[in-house]
């Protein structure tokens, strides 16, 4: 599409750390494949699992931020394809678009894949008016309910009209394309400008219905298995898009929060950061985009950075966050080699950065535009964070798995050579029964424990909610005492979120500890079987609980609570009645708001974490069982007197 030429060097350089990491993985994978050819049966499953983990490793980086922060433009710049994602002066991005670079899991014959809402999702969306409509209904603001419903109804009508019969065929389906074409993207992932649509343009015809888009692009020099996700901006007046974005965040270990330089870090950005930073700060990067629009560039950047750090610190967020500055626009000008047509202000800003440079030389201008765009630094930061975060965790897990496999293999070989001896009265079936018993015991115990922890989490969240209502009402009381009922009053819901979140993270930490404990129990059980039944003295490498995260960040908590819609909601709320009435209404409003949220945390996040932990326990058990099986086999092959006795006993 576009030719970076020599500039490509600048680009791939940023990813070198990640590319090196992939080389390591490749080496391990090649080695594994060789081993798999000769591996004994009992190791096959385990090795295949490792191999599968490598090939499916695709770190995802979500690009999030407010509308018009320049997310699509920045992403285009990051992949060196200035025209890939449509961008416009108005915020029309409506769909999460995953850009899979050099993917190994690309479906056959597919470069672009679009998935649509299914009938149920669509109906829920249009009937209740989506989340905002639900909230408004709960809070009893009928005007808002109507407004949102109207908004949605109108959307439904235009969509259904425009698509005609096609509409029902599309629900719940997906469409794939063998090539990526600009026209296709315009139709699926971007709302069109209603003014253009009236003229019969086809931009955005499917956008209302599209839930997810996946694009597969092969770019030399770029890392393998890396996925960038473009998201609809938050703080859009069309709030249905917000929910889409929040879903994306929970599935990404890494986020680039894009701020627009001219209004860096507003309350909305901060709310967004609060949510994602709560996970693990090293996974968040801030990119202050559109610096080319600043007046006094060098000075302004310093001021903005100071300001952001100050605010982050004041709000109790990590000040260590990596903050980068740049301009996707500059990079795209360079990519397209159209620096000469750069907007005058942007060009002036660029010149102010390089007073000594000779910008009559187009190549120099291009190089400087790339350099100042900050994209290289962004690549580097992203690469570093992947390697240090999910990369490191994956590597540790692979190494632990391989160490275990090698250890088991060595043990089997050694035992085969020296001679394992089944104890009197022990049989293959007997050992199998014992193993099954161990598995049942461990899993039952784990399930009980997980259920207890779930209950505890639920109780804690409920307590947090009650506590929040109490403090809020207390605060309200003193506000009324001081200012009377007419005045404004708001109560920040972030403390509620914080409490819910910490309850969740406590629960998942416990879950992890449980997991570790049960791996040890399995190890002990297996050790006993080896020792008493097979007369083998073998201390397995201690069981390692995987480093990779088993739980998703609870982004459900990020959803706009009606409490957050500070504007009028609060005030009108209090105007509706006297204090006692307000108190009762408030309590029940929070309950109706928070209860589904808690349920979501339990059902979609905690339960998934439990399931993941359980499957780790099961996998570990299966590995150990194969190991024991291999030793039993070795023992059976052993022409020892003892074995004969066992056989005859059996």
């Amino acid at each position: 599409m576009s030719g970076l030429g020599d500039l490509n060097m600048v680009y791939s350089e940023g990813f070198s750390e990640l590319n090196r990491f992939w080389e390591q993985l490749d080496a391990i994978e090649a080695n594994l494949e060789a081993q798999l050819k000769t591996a004994p049966e009992h190791l096959r499953v385990q090795l295949e699992r490792v191999s599968e983990r490598i090939s499916s490793f695709e770190p995802t980086v979500s690009v999030i931020g407010q509308i018009k922060a320049g997310k699509s433009t920045l992403l285009n710049a990051m992949i060196g394809e200035s025209n890939l994602l449509p961008s416009d002066v108005n915020p029309w991005t409506s769909v999460i678009t995953g850009i899979h670079l050099n993917s190994r899991i690309r479906p056959d014959n597919t470069r672009a894949l679009f998935r649509f809402f299914d009938a149920e999702e669509w109906d829920r969306l249009v009937e209740t008016g989506g989340r905002l409509g639900e909230m408004a209904a709960r809070a009893g603001f009928d005007n808002e309910v109507e407004e949102v419903k109207d908004q949605v109804k109108q959307m439904r009508q235009t969509t259904e009209e425009r698509l005609g019969d096609e509409f029902h065929q599309l629900l719940g389906q997906s469409r794939s394309f063998a090539e990526i074409e600009k026209e296709t993207l315009d139709r699926y992932i971007c709302y069109g400008d209603p003014d253009d649509l009236e003229d019969g343009a086809t931009e955005g015809v499917y956008a209302d219905l599209t839930k997810l888009a996946d694009l597969y692009i092969d770019l030399p020099g770029y890392p393998r298995g890396l996925c960038f996700r473009d998201t609809p901006g938050v703080n859009d007046t069309f709030m249905m898009r917000e929910q889409i974005t929040l879903n994306a965040i929970s599935e990404s270990r890494m986020c680039i929060v894009v701020l627009s330089a001219h209004q860096a870090l507003s309350t909305v950005d901060l709310a967004l950061l609060r949510i994602i930073c709560s996970v693990e700060s090293r996974e968040v990067l801030i990119f202050v985009n559109r610096v080319d629009e600043l007046g006094d560039l060098a000075e302004d950047i310093k001021k903005i950075e100071r300001d952001i750090r100050h605010t982050l610190g004041r709000m109790g967020l990590s000040e260590r966050l990596n903050i980068l500055f740049g301009s996707g626009y500059w990079a795209n000008c360079a990519i397209d080699d159209r620096c000469a047509d750069m907007i005058a202000n942007s060009l002036a800003a660029l010149k102010s950065l390089y007073p000594a440079a000779d910008f009559t030389d187009p190549e120099e201008l291009r190089v400087k535009a790339i350099e100042a765009s900050g994209i290289g630094a962004l690549h580097k930061a992203v690469a570093q964070q992947i390697v240090d975060g999910p990369g490191k965790a994956l590597m540790a897990d692979i190494k632990a798995s391989l160490a275990q496999a090698t250890d088991a293999q060595d043990a089997v070989v050694a035992i085969a050579a020296s001679g394992a001896v089944m104890s009197r009265g022990v049989s293959r079936t007997g050992i199998k029964l014992k193993l099954d018993g161990l598995k049942l015991e461990v899993l039952t115990s784990f399930d009980n424990r997980a259920a207890a922890e779930r209950l505890q989490l639920h109780e804690k969240m409920h307590k947090a909610m009650t506590q929040f209502v109490d403090t809020a009402i207390e605060a309200l009381q003193s506000h009324i005492d001081a200012f009377g009922e007419a005045d404004n009053w708001t109560h920040e819901p972030s403390s509620l979120r914080m409490m819910l979140r910490s309850a969740y993270s406590n629960a998942t930490t416990k879950l992890r500890r449980d997991g570790e404990k049960y791996l040890d129990e399995i190890g002990d059980g297996v050790h006993d079987i080896l020792f008493y039944d097979l007369n083998v003295h073998h201390d397995s490498v201690s069981a390692e609980f995987p480093n990779q995260s088993q739980h998703k960040a609870p982004t459900a908590l990020a959803k706009t609570l009606s409490l957050d819609l500070q504007g009028g909601w609060w005030r009108r709320f209090w105007r509706l009645g006297g204090k006692t009435r307000a108190e009762t209404r408030y309590r029940s409003l929070i309950e109706t708001e928070v209860t589904p949220l808690m349920e979501e945390v339990l059902n979609d996040f905690f339960d998934e974490a439990v399931a993941n932990t359980r499957s780790i326990i099961v996998d570990y058990f299966d590995d150990q069982a194969s190991f024991v099986g291999a030793i039993v086999e070795a023992a059976e092959r052993m022409p020892s007197a003892d074995k004969k006795t066992t056989r005859s006993a059996a």
Partner: protein
């Protein structure tokens, strides 16, 4: 002391239609200060890429001096370097600008700034008659703005202009038009008018100025009285004829002092401009005011003006007598 001031305010300054006050609000870095400086034709306010922790600033015409009103009500000297946003309710700053002859402008700290609670600008809503809500063309009209504006009093929104600022940063005319169309579609119903412009363009500054003056002319004065600000006006350099309101800054927009009384009474019915020119002595106006206070329909500008005209007509005799005696008094003083 305060009581005397109140008395002065109620018998003189507010006795005629006071200047409409236009509040300028919006999220931080939306170009509010830039817009105001352009309208004032001088750098009165600092503007900044990062947030500016400044209290609301009530700009009035003339050179009457400036002061700060603390949140506890105390009035202190205005010193921008020592103004603490958390202790100050607002500052009153006088500036000698053409536009301030017609309106007061109230500058407010940016909304959605994590370091400045919104109450700092919200407290000015009570004083405002009209509103200019600034939104940057680059990120125009966000949900956080919509939620805030939707909650403003309806009578204020009815006299509000949505100003899409920083139009010069749009890549081209077509793009600018696209943004304007979208914003008009999404936000139009919350405002009396939607405009787009760039305050680096003189023509846009001029058109915005006249748009505001026009808006102000037909404006119902919904804002509540603020004695502290009115205090400033009588503190104008003591006019030669202390008894004539003509020299009072509150009536200055009218072009005033030597204006012809008959011309104004006629002009006001047909012309919507706030030009009122009266050479009225205090006592007379107070009488007119008391009458108006009981009977006037302030929500309907036209009706109000008609009433004023009728009242003035009926007090013509008193007027001429009064001005005669004034002339005599002045002659004596000289």
């Amino acid at each position: 002391m305060n009581q005397t001031l109140n008395l002065v305010a109620s018998t003189s300054a507010s006795a005629i239609r006071r200047k409409p006050r236009i509040m300028v609000a919006g999220e931080f870095s939306a170009g509010k200060s830039f817009l105001i400086n352009a309208l004032l034709e001088k750098e009165v306010l600092p503007s900044n890429v990062t947030s500016t922790a400044m209290p609301p600033i009530w700009l009035v015409g003339g050179a009457g001096g400036s002061f700060s009103v603390r949140r506890d009500g105390e009035i202190v000297d205005f010193d921008i370097t020592k103004t603490d946003i958390n202790e100050t309710a607002f500052c009153v700053v006088s500036a000698d600008s053409e536009i301030l002859r017609y309106i007061d402008i109230i500058d407010t700290p940016g909304n959605s700034d994590p370091n400045i609670p919104s109450e700092h600008w919200e407290r000015m809503v009570q004083y405002a008659d009209g509103l200019v809500w600034c939104t940057s063309a680059m990120q125009a009209w966000k949900q956080s703005e919509k939620a805030t504006v939707a909650d403003l009093p309806e009578d204020l929104r009815a006299q509000a202009l949505l100003m899409i600022t920083q139009a010069d940063r749009m890549p081209d005319e077509r793009a600018a038009a696209k943004v304007q169309r979208r914003v008009e579609r999404d936000a139009g119903k919350y405002f009396a008018d939607v405009a787009m412009g760039s305050m680096v363009r003189d023509s846009d500054v001029r058109s915005t100025t006249s748009r505001l003056i026009e808006l102000a002319a037909g404006m119902a004065l919904r804002g509540s009285e603020e004695p502290a600000v009115e205090r400033l006006r009588p503190m104008q350099p003591k006019a030669k004829s202390a008894t004539t309101l003509a020299s009072h800054p509150a009536v200055e927009p009218c072009g005033v002092a030597k204006a012809d009384a008959t011309e104004t009474t006629q002009g006001r019915e047909t012309d919507a401009s706030p030009e009122i020119s009266l050479g009225l002595p205090n006592g007379t106006l107070a009488a007119v005011w008391r009458n108006l206070e009981n009977n006037a329909d302030l929500s309907d500008n036209q009706a109000f003006l008609e009433q004023v005209a009728a009242l003035l007509e009926s007090t013509k005799d008193i007027l001429s007598k009064q001005s005669d005696s004034n002339a005599a008094a002045e002659a004596k003083a000289d």
